[in-house]
Symmetry: C2
Subunit: 125 residues, 2 copies
């Protein structure tokens, strides 16, 4: 019996992502599925940080976003579409931000998987 | 009665894209759904043209790819996932290229819609 974990396929990473996203466990998604050197990319027109390098920076970015949230009213994360070493997810939220009021956000997120871990997340909105 | 066409929503563009892709009508997708100033972006590691600007350049790129194909054995284009002004499609093909032999390619394609037309296509593989 070996203690070595088998490397997950992209489909398996996507399945686990979906399993965790349905109950909003985004922090667990990051700590369990992301590579230490993962990169996060927002659109050019984004008003926030456009590129975060490394899991710590990505967690920090998530924390900063969380601090700007007044109230989360709802959200969704659809079933991932998998192709090769990538998967795409349509997701969104209905949120009241402290400075900007209530808004709905919808986006496509594309994830790149390498050696069983997410190495890149890229958002389109 | 007005001759002015209603601007399609992103969902409607995605539906029409899916309808045409199921029968492989890629040229019709381009001429019917793409904006004249549409942009096409391949990954950094792509061996071909990484960026094509304008519908004519995109059509030319498709033509060049077609000329490199020895035989197309099969392909698929899944149902689009729509979020906001983007939609994502998992797609792939089983193809024999003239110089490189037979291979399977799978990719995520992300489309940005503006004023009822596709203004950007971006591929992930």
């Amino acid at each position: 019996m070996s203690t070595k974990e088998a490397t997950m396929t992209t489909q398996e990473v996507a399945n686990r992502f979906n399993e965790l996203s349905q109950t909003g466990q985004w922090e667990l998604i990051q700590s369990e599925l992301y590579a230490e050197n993962a990169v996060s990319i927002e659109p050019e027109h984004s008003q926030g940080l456009k590129r975060a390098e490394g899991l710590e920076a990505i967690k920090q970015k998530g924390k900063q976003f969380g601090e700007m949230v007044e109230q989360m009213h709802g959200g969704y994360s659809n079933k991932p579409e998998v192709a090769g070493n990538h998967f795409a997810v349509a997701m969104g939220m209905d949120v009241t931000m402290k400075e900007m009021g209530r808004m709905k956000m919808d986006e496509i997120a594309v994830y790149e998987v390498k050696d069983g871990k997410i190495v890149k997340e890229q958002f389109f909105y």
